[in-house]
Structure formats: structure tokens, C-alpha cells
């Protein structure tokens, strides 16, 4: 009863495990990740895929872990023991770390959806990191904003580890290019009721650019209140937030004029994107998000890897064929372009960047 994807009896089933926050405060995020997975699996199961003449179908077994690592670990045990999943996808670094304790022993791949570099740096041979590393954005963001608005930046990252790491990475680059970090303070979207206090202090230093980020809607609220308080400069938007989603809160791109961030998936134009967006919005009735896009693609990559490995249950073998999976990925499934998996197990993604100019989102060349 845990399954979605509609695999019938008598078929060869490969279980794909998932443990993530399906309830509680991070449920929104968990839902987006699951959507991407289940959509891909449903598509694949229409035909199934063949290895050595046998037809296989996928079955998603998803369990709730409320964002708690100990629950992820318990779920992991359950998925491996009872469902023999060769891969478990989990969208938070705590859960990934908790699974890494036993994944090599029990032979399953961790599909980690987390930009946190340390999860792959730990040297776990069966962990792959799906989303892109933020390093790819930094120079492009800085050059654009510095040229357009000036040299003073205030950093207001979210309190999450990801936000903190982003801020830590951006500051030296900004200074190396002759800029000045005039203020830094983190915002906690789960606890702060109002952002005026933090903005007052940041704007008191007259920055030209604000670095903001977090969930799109919250980030938008922050930008909106910054404008209320008289801020006229530009925003560097951390890649977690998507400018198209932010627009829903601000009402228009006008208020976000001068923002630079990751290209919203709806404007991204990778080969597989338009098709994905169309199907996604039809199916779930909500806007497509990058989480969903990456995980959708990941399922196809996995299937290709299994095909290349001629194996559906040995995690080690499948892991060895991930690069082949990336190489064989059909063009129309490329919601994102992922040419290679690096030696640590992270996907190297060709990132795209967009900026808002005159109320419109324009693509910016990545340097």
C-alpha cells in the first residue's frame, strides 16, 4: 500500500526508496521532491524498461521522516529490509548523514538532494549528490550586481546551513572584486514574525545590493519589505528561491527589478524543460519547481544506469554506471543538463542564470 506508480502483479518490480519530510513544517519541500519522483516513475511504468529481455517497472516507496535524522535512519532500515530498495532518496543532509552510517554495509545508494558539499566529501562511495553546487553561480551574480548597482553589499542569508554556507562563500569573492560587505545577519523564516528589525539594521549601512534567499515566498516577503523601507538597489537571490515564485508574492517583477538568481525552471529552456513543465502543471496543478525537475531527471538517469549496468539490485554496480546513465539520458528528459558526475559523487550541472531588467526576466551568461 506504500506504492505509487501502479505496478501490477507478476511483473518485475524495482523499488525506489524515499524518506523525507512529508508532514510538519518542511512538508512543502518534501512534497515537491516526491512529485518529481512519482511523475517520472509513472511515465516510465507506462512501458516499463527492458534489461536482458525482462521488463521492469518501478515502485516508489515513500516514508515520512519529519526532517528528523533518526527517523530517516529507521526508514532507511525499513526500506532496505522490507522493500530491498537499491537506492534511497532523501532531501536533507541530516538524513543523508544518518543513512551514511550503514549504506555501504547494507549496499544501497543514497540519492542525496542537498547542495551541502560535505555529504559527498565524507568519502562515502555510494552517495550521490543531485542538485548543483552553488559555486557555479557566485561570479556571475557578483559581476552583474556590482556593475549595475555598486560595491556595497549586505548579506541576509537564511539561518539554514545552506544559507550560511552560501553567505560564507560569497563574501570573499565580493571582497576580492573590490567590494565591501557592510552588514551580515541571518533571518530565520521559521521563527521571525516580521523582517523589519533585520532590514532596518541592514539598510542602515546603505548597501547597494542585498543578498537574500530561502523559500521563494519568504524571500519575496523579505524583498518586498526591503522595498517598503526604501531600498532601491539590487538583490542577489540564493538559488533555493525562484524568481517566478517570488513574483506571486510581490505581484510583479517590477518590485524585484535588478534581482539576479537561478533561472526559473519555466524560463530555463533546457531540452526537456517545456515538456516537463506542461505535464507537471497538468498533473499537480501547481507550478513546477527545480526540486521536482532534478528528481524527475534523476529517476531517468537511474533507469539508464541500471540498463547500462544490466543490473537492478546491486547498488555498487549501479553506482558505477551512473556516468553511463548520464550519457545515455534521452534528450527530451533533460529537464536540466547534467554532463557528468564528479569523483565525489556530485552531479556537475550546467547552471543557468536570469536577471530582472525592466520588469522582465532575461538570461545571463554564466561565466
Amino acid at each position: 500500500s506504500n506504492s505509487t506508480g501502479g505496478a501490477g502483479k507478476g511483473e518485475n518490480i524495482v523499488n525506489i526508496g524515499y524518506s523525507g519530510p512529508l508532514s510538519g513544517s518542511a512538508a512543502n519541500y518534501g512534497k515537491k521532491t516526491v512529485n518529481g519522483l512519482s511523475m517520472a516513475i509513472e511515465e516510465i511504468n507506462k512501458e516499463g524498461f527492458k534489461i536482458d529481455g525482462k521488463t521492469y517497472k518501478l515502485n516508489l516507496v515513500k516514508l515520512d521522516d519529519k526532517y528528523l535524522p533518526n527517523e530517516t535512519a529507521a526508514n532507511g532500515q525499513r526500506l532496505v529490509q522490507e522493500h530491498k530498495t537499491p537506492i534511497i532518496i532523501t532531501p536533507h543532509s541530516g538524513g543523508i548523514a544518518a543513512l551514511q552510517v550503514f549504506n555501504e554495509q547494507q549496499n544501497f545508494i543514497i540519492g542525496g538532494y542537498s547542495s551541502e558539499p560535505s555529504i559527498t566529501e565524507a568519502g562515502n562511495s555510494l552517495t550521490i549528490r543531485i542538485p548543483p553546487n552553488y559555486e557555479g553561480y557566485i561570479d556571475t551574480f557578483i559581476n552583474y550586481e556590482m556593475k549595475r548597482y555598486g560595491k556595497k553589499i549586505a548579506l541576509i542569508p537564511p539561518v539554514t546551513q545552506y544559507g550560511q554556507d552560501w553567505a560564507k562563500a560569497i563574501a570573499p569573492h565580493w571582497e576580492a572584486k573590490g567590494g565591501e560587505v557592510v552588514h551580515q545577519a541571518s533571518v530565520d523564516f521559521e521563527k521571525d514574525t516580521d523582517f523589519y528589525t533585520i532590514l532596518t539594521n541592514a539598510l542602515n549601512k546603505n548597501p547597494d545590493v542585498l543578498f537574500i534567499g530561502g523559500p521563494s515566498e519568504s524571500t519575496a516577503k523579505l524583498a518586498l519589505q526591503a522595498r517598503e523601507a526604501g531600498f532601491k538597489g539590487g538583490f542577489i537571490v540564493m538559488d533555493q528561491a525562484k524568481m517566478d515564485e517570488m513574483k506571486k508574492v510581490t505581484g510583479s517583477y517590477e518590485l524585484l527589478e535588478g534581482s539576479i538568481g537561478t533561472m526559473p525552471i519555466i524560463s530555463a529552456n533546457y531540452p526537456g524543460t517545456p515538456e516537463f513543465i506542461k505535464k507537471y502543471e497538468e498533473k499537480f496543478n501547481i507550478n513546477a519547481s527545480s526540486e521536482a525537475g532534478y528528481l524527475y531527471t534523476t529517476v531517468y538517469i537511474l533507469v539508464e544506469a541500471m540498463k547500462a549496468a544490466k543490473n537492478v539490485d546491486d547498488a555498487k554496480v549501479i553506482r558505477e554506471h551512473i556516468q553511463a546513465g548520464l550519457d545515455n539520458l534521452p534528450e527530451d528528459k533533460k529537464v536540466y543538463e547534467i554532463p557528468k558526475i564528479n569523483k565525489d559523487g556530485g552531479f556537475d550541472v550546467n547552471v543557468r542564470v536570469g536577471a530582472i531588467e525592466n520588469g522582465e526576466i532575461l538570461p545571463i551568461n554564466v561565466e
Binding site: S1, S23, A27, Y67, P69, A73, R78, G94, E116
Partner: protein, 327 residues
């Protein structure tokens, strides 16, 4: 029937079951979940001591659990101390902090104490979360060692870890049993029932409360240390109010102020939440009402519910006597 189900027999029965459990199932998942539940039970026993037997509801126990866990983690990962010294020191550190805190916190009473400790628990959470140079903050602390070998015995397999934790659980139960049935335990109860009266009959309530509180933080710290070396990863979430609420629910559902309550409550709720996984994102939709209904229909907890049998029988006897007297 009623005598068969008395607390002592129930506890004994469960113990035997616990020792045999890995022979009954070979499924690592069950062993994993039960091991984790045992760790919670130890923490719940700590909470039970101060909240159930002494009448002071502490909301800081998830915090103390976290202190024990982080002490274990930091000592072994960052200070490079060996497993056993770290494992010994972790509950000690928790206890020391518990002592310092208890001295001040126990000046407050009832609701004030509850909220005071809520604040303390929250501050512990914030410190773990913000002091990332020490604790690694929200990224979490990785690479905590699992229990070191004792001679030829190694604790690397799930089953051996299960027995490792079970050993400490049994020790906890034993110590609790001894305390509850001693003069010290009676003194705790006296403070719970009426602090004013206890004081007038010469009980040093301040000392009694402090002893109970410090001891309860010891068990929270022990559970935390076990958690750290079992999970081998720590994040600030373990000190959050959500965990505190879980501990509280285990205790209340099982039966606060009873010896078997922590075991029954924890196992029952862990069982229910695992069983409800099929509902995925909507499991709380069912779990919430189940929790509330259990409380409504068994307000003294499951253990209290069975305990009732005994007292009902006793009462019946007394009523008979009374009625006889009346006739």
C-alpha cells in the same frame, strides 16, 4: 487476572521478551526501531522521575538529552577522547549542567517551572544551533564512533548494539525500581502530593527536588549519549520542542508516575507511528486524534488503566466493609 497483570509481572515479562527479541526477528528494521525506542524509554524514565514522581513538569529534557548526545559526540569527535571515557563523561556533564540549572529553576513552581524549563530547553536548542564552531550547527555532527569493543565483544552489528542499549535500559529500570520503592522515592511522592505539607514534616523540599531533577537529567544524558553512538550523527533537531512533545506523549500515554508507563507508552506510540506510515503525509491526521482519544479514554495512561484493576478490587473490598458497618 489482576494480580497477573501487576506492574512487576508486566515488567518482568517485557524484559524476557526484550532479551529474546533478536532471536524472534531477523529483520534489522525492527531491531533498529526497537533499539531507538529503548533509548527513548531511558529518557522518558528520566522525565518520569521529575514529572511523575516529584510533580515538576520539565520541558527541558529534550535539551538535556541533546546535551548528553552532543557531549558524547564532541568529546569523541572533536576532543578525540576514547569511546568509553566519553561515554562516561557525557551523562556526568549533563548532570552537572542539570545541577546548576536545577538550583535556579526549582525556585519556580508548577506552570512557572514548566515554562521556565521550556525556555531553558529552547535556549539549549538555540545554543546548539548557533554555536556552529563548536557543534557544527545545523549541518550536524558526523562521524561519532559506535561503542568500542569490550575485549572480544564488538558492537558493530545491529543486534549487538541492541543488546548494548538493552543493558542500559535494564539498568535504568532496575535503578528506578529501587528508587521508587525506597524512602527516597516516597519522599519524591510526598513533594508531589503537597510540597507545603512535606516541608512541615521536615522534608527538605529543595534538596529533594534537586536530587530528583539532577537524577532525571542524568538519565536524559545517558539516553542522549546512547543515541549519539547509535545514530552516529547529531543535528540540533534532537533538542527541539517536537522531540520534547514526543517524550511527553510517551510518558502520558504509558502512564505518568508508574514504573511500566514509560515502556508501554513509548513502545505503543512508536508502534502506532510506524504502522501509520502507509498514510504518508497524512499520518498525523490519524495519529493526532488517536493520541487525543487515548488520553481521553485512559486519562491515567495505559499502565494506570491496568493499575486501576487493583485499586478497584481494593475499593470493592472496602465498600463491602463499609456497607457491612452500615447495616
Amino acid at each position: 487476572m489482576a494480580t497477573f497483570f501487576n506492574q512487576r509481572n508486566v515488567v518482568m515479562g517485557l524484559m524476557v521478551l526484550a532479551i529474546l527479541f533478536p532471536f524472534i526477528t531477523q529483520n534489522n528494521y525492527y531491531i533498529y526501531v526497537i533499539t531507538l525506542a529503548f533509548i527513548w524509554i531511558i529518557a522518558v524514565y528520566g522525565l518520569n522521575l521529575i514529572a511523575g514522581y516529584t510533580g515538576y513538569l520539565s520541558f527541558a529534557h529534550a535539551g538535556f538529552f541533546a546535551i548528553g548526545a552532543y557531549a558524547m559526540g564532541l568529546l569523541s569527535v572533536k576532543a578525540g577522547i576514547g569511546f568509553w571515557p566519553a561515554f562516561l563523561l557525557a551523562p556526568m556533564i549533563t548532570t552537572a549542567i542539570g545541577f546548576l540549572l536545577g538550583i535556579i529553576a526549582l525556585r519556580t513552581k508548577e506552570h512557572f517551572f514548566a515554562i521556565y524549563t521550556l525556555c531553558v530547553g529552547y535556549i539549549i536548542y538555540l545554543v546548539i544551533d548557533k554555536w556552529d564552531r563548536l557543534t557544527e550547527g545545523p549541518r550536524g555532527l558526523m562521524g561519532i564512533p559506535s561503542p568500542a569493543n569490550i575485549g572480544p565483544i564488538s558492537f558493530s552489528t545491529p543486534v549487538s548494539q541492541y543488546y548494548f542499549v538493552l543493558f542500559f535500559l535494564l539498568l535504568t529500570i532496575f535503578v528506578m525500581f529501587r528508587i521508587i520503592n525506597s524512602l527516597t522515592g516516597r519522599t519524591f511522592l510526598a513533594v508531589r502530593n503537597s510540597e507545603i505539607l512535606a516541608q512541615t514534616i521536615g522534608v527538605s523540599t529543595i534538596r529533594t527536588k534537586l536530587v530528583s531533577f539532577v537524577l532525571s537529567t542524568f538519565f536524559a544524558g545517558l539516553a542522549g549519549a546512547l543515541y549519539a553512538c547509535f545514530l552516529r550523527f547529531l543535528g540540533p533537531q534532537i533538542s527541539s520542542t517536537a522531540i520534547m512533545f514526543d517524550l511527553l506523549a510517551y510518558l502520558i500515554v504509558g502512564g505518568i508516575g508508574t514504573l511500566s508507563g514509560p515502556i508501554i507508552g513509548t513502545l505503543l506510540i512508536v508502534f502506532i507511528t510506524q504502522k501509520l506510515q502507509f498514510l504518508q503525509e497524512y499520518r498525523m491526521l490519524l495519529f493526532g486524534p488517536i493520541l487525543t482519544l487515548i488520553i481521553i479514554f485512559s486519562p491515567r495512561g495505559i499502565a494506570g488503566f491496568f493499575g486501576n484493576w487493583k485499586s478497584i478490587r481494593k475499593e470493592k473490598r472496602m465498600i463491602l466493609q463499609k456497607n457491612k458497618k452500615a447495616a
